[in-house]
Every structure is written in C-alpha cells, then in structure tokens.
Amino acid sequence: MERHLPILPIIVPLMAAPLCLLIRQRTLVFGFALGVCWATFAMVAVLFMHVVYADTGDAASPVATVITYELGGWATPWGIEYRIDTLSVFVLLIVSGIGAVVLSYAPRSISREIHCDQHYLFCSAYLLCLTGLLGITITGDLFNLFVFLEISALSSYSLISLGARQSRKALTAAFQYLVMGTIGATFILIGIGLMYQMTGTLNMADMATRLDTVSGPRTVLVAFAFLSVGICLKVALFPLHAWLPGAYAYAPSVVTAFLAATATKVSVYILLRIIFTIFKPGFAFESLSFDTGLMVLSLVGITVASTVAIFQTNIKRMLAYSSVAQIGYIVLGISFASVTGLTAGIVHVLNHAVIKSGLFLAMGCIALRIGSVELDDLRGVGRRMPVTMFAWVLGGLGLIGVPLTAGFISKWYLIGAALESGCRLVAVLVLLNSLLALVYVWRVVEVAYFQEPPERHSQVTEAPLSMLIPTCVLIGASLFFGLNTSFSVDVARQAAEVLLGVTP
C-alpha cells in the first residue's frame, strides 16, 4: 500500500467518478464524493510529509527528496513515470485541499444553481476534473500530461455549462472556452510531438538530458514556441485570457471557486516544468530572452486586467479579471528566474488560490441569499449578511496586499526579487497596481456597507453554516499564511531551489 501511494491520488477519484453515475441518489453521491476528496487530500498530505521533510520528522530543517513511481513496473524511460518533487507536491496539496473544502461547501449552493437531476453528474465531472489536475502535477511523462490536461479541460467545460440554469450565457462561455482550450491543448500536442521527434523520449527528466538546445536544429525552437503559446493560453496570460472572464462569471459559484483556485495554477505548474525542467533557464531565458517577454506581458496584463476589473458591474466577472491580474503577478515572479522571484511566484500560487476561492465562495453565499452578484443588488448586504461580507472584505484586503494578509507576503517577495535584479520600475509598477486592486475592492465595500439595503432584501439572512464554514476556513487560511510564513515560503523556496538546481 505504502509503495503504491504516489498513484492512489489519481486512481481513487478516477474510479470514483463513474461510480457517482451508478449511485445517482443525491445525498449518497455527495457523501461519497466528499469522502473521496478528503481521502485524496489525506493521501497527498502523507506524500507531502515524505517529500518535503524527507521522513526526518523534523519540521525545522526540511530536506527535499523526490518520490518516483513506475507505472505497471515498466522501467523509466520506456514506461510512464510518476515523479513527485517539492514543487509538484506543493501544487498537489493546494489542488486537493481546495477541492475538498469547495466540495464540502457545494451541496447547498448547488441545490439552488443546478437542477437536482444533474447533481450526480456534477459530482462525477468534479471528480474527473480533480483527477486531471492532480494527474498533470504528478506525472513525469509529457504525453501523459497532455492526456490529463484534456481530462481536466473536458470536465471543466461541462462543469461551466452547468451554469446554464442561471444564465444561458454559460453555454456560450463554455463553448468559447472549449474552442480556445482545444486550440491551446493542440498547440501543446504539436510541441510534444516535435520534442519527441528531437529526443526520442517522452519522459521529462530523460528529455532534459537528451535535448541539445545549444547546437540542435531549429525544431527545438519551434517546439518551445508551440508549447509556450499553448500553455500561456491555458494559464490565461494576457493577451490570451479572453476565455477566462466569461467562463468564471457564468459558471456555478462552486465551479468558479474550484477552477479559479486550481486550473490556472496547474497550468502555471506546467509552464514551470517546461521552462525549468525540460528546456532549462539557460535556453529559455538567456538565449531566447523569454523572461523579458513574460515580464512585459505580465506587467501589461496586471495593469489592463486590474483597470478593466474596476469597471465591471458583475462581481464574479470583476473577480475573474482580478484573477487575470493575479496570474500576472505569478508569471512576473517566474520571469525574474532567481530563487527569490520563483519563491514569490510559487508562494503566490498558494496565496492566490486560497484568497480567490475564499472570495468566490463568499460570493456564492451572497448569490444563494440574494440571487444575484450584480453590484447594484449588493446594496447594504454588509448589514444583512455580516459574516459573509466581512470574510469577503478580508479576502479583498488579501488581493490588495495589505500587511497581515497572504497577499502581502507574495508582494513582499515579488518586490524583493525586483529590487534584487535591479528593476526598480517593476517594483514601482507592482505597488501602483495594488492601488488599482484597492479601487475595485473598495467599490464593493462602499456599496455593501454604506448604502441602505433595498426593501426586497428585508428577509435576507446570513448564509447557512454548511457554506459559511468552508468560506471562513479559506479566508482564515489566507490570514494564517499572511502571519505564519514558515510553511508557505519555506516550501516555495525549497521548490524554487530544486527547480533552479541550487543547493541551499
């Protein structure tokens, strides 16, 4: 059992997804899916302890190890290898943790937003999406990564289209995401094919040793171009973010919270793997200056998306644009290609996942009670739903990056990395863009606290506990990671050091 632990987080939800279709009965399905999600989280947590603390049991001096698992016992370069290092286990922990918390929140929210005949389908698609996202992070095989990418993408298209009961725009948003997502995935497939042609292997670690980026043919360049464009589409890096706002705005609240926290983050993980494990920064950054491109795109993306967010009247759409901006911060951290920069990027993967899913869950509570997430309908909601709105404000402060919140930690390291590499202008831009975040968070606070609630909201009460607790857990986690960085920053730094091949 112990020996097969690395594959269990994939197998368990994958097998559970079709079982959901057989069970069908609503409460049983939810109970079953919840059990599976929390079991997956527990397994990942065990893996995390193994990898990060290397079984020494000493939390103070983490030693990184790598767990490998050969699928079906086939030796590595030929068979599929599952490879878990610090970075992958960190992302695994985020995905499975958020997946479990969000599903605990789901039953009440879903019963309003999705037709009750479709609840078992929701659970099934949710588990498949979880499988895909975990699979991408765990696998060490490039083609296997593509297959998991498509599993998670296909299930997320159908999850988004479940929002059709609320608004028919969910259907067109899902279709647009499908077209863009498939183009992105096909670009990645072309890149993988060309890489296979060049190296004759699909194992990422093996590929890295065989790849001749110095004197190799131009095919390597073309492969890199296809891979990076395809992944940037999945990451929703500006200007390839067009699919994201619609998809997040019209999906059911639960789906938005889950996807916003995990899908783009896992794509960031693929970007890191491609740049740092396969091509190495020497090729991608020094000889191609891919870092300058990423830095410019992320800075423009942060500014444009934050500005557009200010003018949105639908709060979910506003948060979606804010997601595009926050992804910009993550990519900005990566583009410094230094340990501090990567630490900032990786730690923001965790911080943003926690903050943004908390915010979307709070929005889901409001959607349950008020039935709308339009700014106008939120008047005086701070008085009717004090706990929910207070949680939202705390999350919003995290987005801005106020001290004592998780967002501050990310920005602190980001600015530190900018100053370290001598880009003072970038540091100033990061600070200025935090002001834009302040504007769009303040707009909501003003409407929710300083305006009279309309007559028709006199019956509105606080959200049920089953939804309030998961929301508060995530918002509380975002405050925890703002106060206590020993977990998040240390692990992110370890992951950055492993990626850059520096020994501490």
Partner: protein, 125 residues
Amino acid sequence: MNAILGLYNYWIVIFLMMTGFYIVIARRNLVKKVIGLNIFQISVFLLYITMGKIEGGTAPILEAQNFTTGEEFQVYSNPLTSVLILTAIVVGVATTALALALIVRIQEAYGTIEEDEILERDLEM
C-alpha cells in the same frame, strides 16, 4: 525542389493545420468552428503518424520474414507515435461530442447557432 517534394507529408500537415485554424477563427457558425477544430486536430494526428514512419520500414514484429524473398526485415517503423495518436483521437472525439452537445443546448436556448445573432440576442435581454 527536394524541400517541397521530399517533405510533402509535412506540407500536407501544414496546409491542413492552417486551413483548420483559419476556419476556427474566421467562421461565425458554431458547427463550422467545430469542423475547423477537427481539421486542426487531424493535421496534428498526421504529423505524429508521419514522423514515426520510415521509408521501407515495416511493422515492428520480431523475426518477421518477407514472404517473397524469405529474408528477415531490417528496418522497422516506430509504432509509438501511432499508439500515442490513438489516445489523441479518442480525446478529439470526446471534444467534438462535447462541443456538439453544447451547440444543441445553445440552439435550444438561443434559437440560433450563428455567433453574431447570439451576441445580438444577449444584448436584447
């Protein structure tokens, strides 16, 4: 000349890829978009299959003999690319099925599958 005729398989791939990509971007009809997406994906399938093929190579079966001459084969094609693309075909079929299902739902909700008319109807709301 050799760059064109000798690599004709790659030219077919590029032609199909660009055709499919163009259809996806330029057509406003959702079904036509899906057709374009399919052509785009199929060009990649061809790219994979064509890179595994070696001229004069045969299926990789050990100790297989040429029926006419009785000699053992020396050159084998790479079967792995075909196997990989079998998986990608399945993914492609699933994508197409999901896309068509979404189009059916869009037709039910909007009464049209032309992108311009869908946008108009959303604005009317």
